[in-house]
Symmetry: none
Subunit: 190 residues, 4 copies
DNA sequence: GATGAATGAGAATTCATTCAT
DNA sequence: AATGAATGAATTCTCATTCAT
């Protein structure tokens, strides 16, 4: 489903690639993007050379991390959307996305700064998520579960904003829940 | 008003300090923290040496920028709080803070990473703002304008979150307004 | 006469710049272009940072070395050309250029590979030398001291070729002299 | 004819070795020595591992390329020398060697830098060529076709020099011809 | 005090060479 | 034997900070 145009990748290479992505995700989200590539390689248990063989630049690694994240989110969102009523689905997906988005902003910014207009491969995953969100939102609005004047841009901004807000409250699940309460209440037709 | 324990500072030195803070604020918020100190000095029209005479480390400059921001916000918040009814004051201050917080997160993160737990001098300004917010919130809740279960941590997280959300919508004031609508509606007792 | 558009350059900075150019000339010609910048800095008695402040890339350093060389040669050629009869001047300049060109090829190739078509600043110095050579050659041919069918490209190729040939014979001045004999004889009308 | 002391080498291995030498010759002469080994392997249609099985270091590959070149030249020189009169043979061989020496300098330099003083295996081929040249030169001098004061070192230096000169004129065969005219004229007794 | 040159510890990236498949 | 993934030392360049002018 995502870029199926490369050779199968030898078993060990695939394993290393995965280890690198895991390590990078972990390290980038907990310690920020500034972390030297060398540390990511160490965290993955491989040499720097291997890292750069798989991802030709640090930026490419960042991008790959984000793509994988977006794909996970997209897949789970699709499941959720299929299982539940529009209203329920909308709010469940909102939570899901927020919970899986930790640290995403910093990534996006870093990529954006790199000039390349939200890199091609990211664009694909991004586009997919946008269309899912468009549908979820429309259905929820049709159902009267969400204010009609809220558009896709506002929804995305809120997702990012709530992501940031809850990150601040990492230590207090109750408080985090109250953030959702507030925003969900605010999204309903008044 | 802040740390009045230094020598008076010669007129030109004071002017340079101000120019540096202005330049740093501008540059950090528009281009991120990664910008080399040399560029900030250039933007301020002084040499790097001067920058480092005033702020012993880049981090100290970051901190000073934030302190000044917080002081501005605190001052205006105090004015607003004095002029208006609790409910109105609360929401007006919320907007005010959000609008003055552009780029703040990145700063905070950078400082946090620097290890020193939210630097001493910042703590002072932070503390002041916290107590203002505590009062504003309590008054608004007493007035029945804000849900009683929302606490200070949630309020702060929402301020940061809405700041992030509106940053995403920099180009569309109407959409930004809708974010405030949603969150303010959600904050009111349901 | 060469790019007089920069600030005067502080005394110590100028000294360092000169030390760097001297060291680079020495190191590049004796040990080749592959030598790490760090070694050149060490040879010049400065830190790498200083090297890169003066020459933003290794390539720029290479270029500066060549420009300085060409300028020296051009200046001496002009003197020689003024002092002597066309025939004598032509052959004296030929020697001069050859003797000052040690290692030049490698430089040119490195720069050429860098893509930028024989960098702008080099072009200027190069152009100057070309026009000098054009005149010297024309005068010598008018005088009947050099075969009329030899053009500027051949002259330049011969200069480079004799440079290479004599480099091979660095240890044997007599043999080097014989190379000049052969080529000078071959250049005269037969 | 060269080092006949290795095992016979399986047919496919021999084919790979040849493909590697061809590719290396091509790539080194057109793009310089700096080209990564991996590209040479790719150009030869084999993996890097194979390259390193046949040539234990990059330097060894360089050496092998040169040896093969020298052997080709030596063989053709022998033919030419047998077919023609001394004078004619001398000048014909001079041309031959020059035309087959493209890029050789860079190789030699690279090998020389590698410390090992003109590697053992090269020495053998080199020695053979030296003795051929010695004979050709002596015969031509005996015939009165070449100045008597020119020795082997000068001849070699001239070969290298003319090689360099004609490389500069790659695009203009006429000019290249004039270089030969000049040098051949200069070599004749005056 | 102000200036900007000098410093050198990192950071990203490359590439010859080794080794598991 | 061949393959190409893995390795990590080496290289170019950056930038916070210091110091001579």
């Amino acid at each position: 489903m995502s870029g199926a145009s490369e050779r199968p990748l030898r078993a060990d290479a695939a394993r290393n690639r995965a280890k690198l992505l895991d390590a990078a995700t972990e390290v980038f989200t907990t310690r920020g993007i500034g972390v030297p590539t060398e540390e990511i390689a160490r965290a993955a248990g491989v040499g720097v050379g291997t890292l750069f063989r798989h991802f030709p630049t640090k930026e490419a690694l960042l991008e790959a991390v984000m793509v994988r994240r977006l794909e996970t989110i997209t897949a789970r969102t699709a499941e959720l959307a299929a299982e539940a009523e529009p209203a329920e689905a909308f709010f469940a997906c909102f939570r899901l996305i927020v919970e899986h988005s930790a640290g995403k902003q910093e990534f996006t910014r870093a990529l954006a700064e790199a000039g390349v207009d939200v890199h091609a491969s990211l664009r694909e995953s991004t586009e997919q998520m946008r269309s899912q969100l468009t549908e979820l939102l429309a259905a929820a609005q049709r159902d009267g579960a969400v204010r009609p004047e809220v558009g896709l841009p506002e929804l995305i901004a809120l997702l990012v904003g709530v992501g940031t807000a809850t990150e601040q409250l990492a230590a207090d699940p109750g408080a985090r829940e109250r953030i959702f309460d507030v925003v969900f209440a605010g999204l309903r037709p008044q």
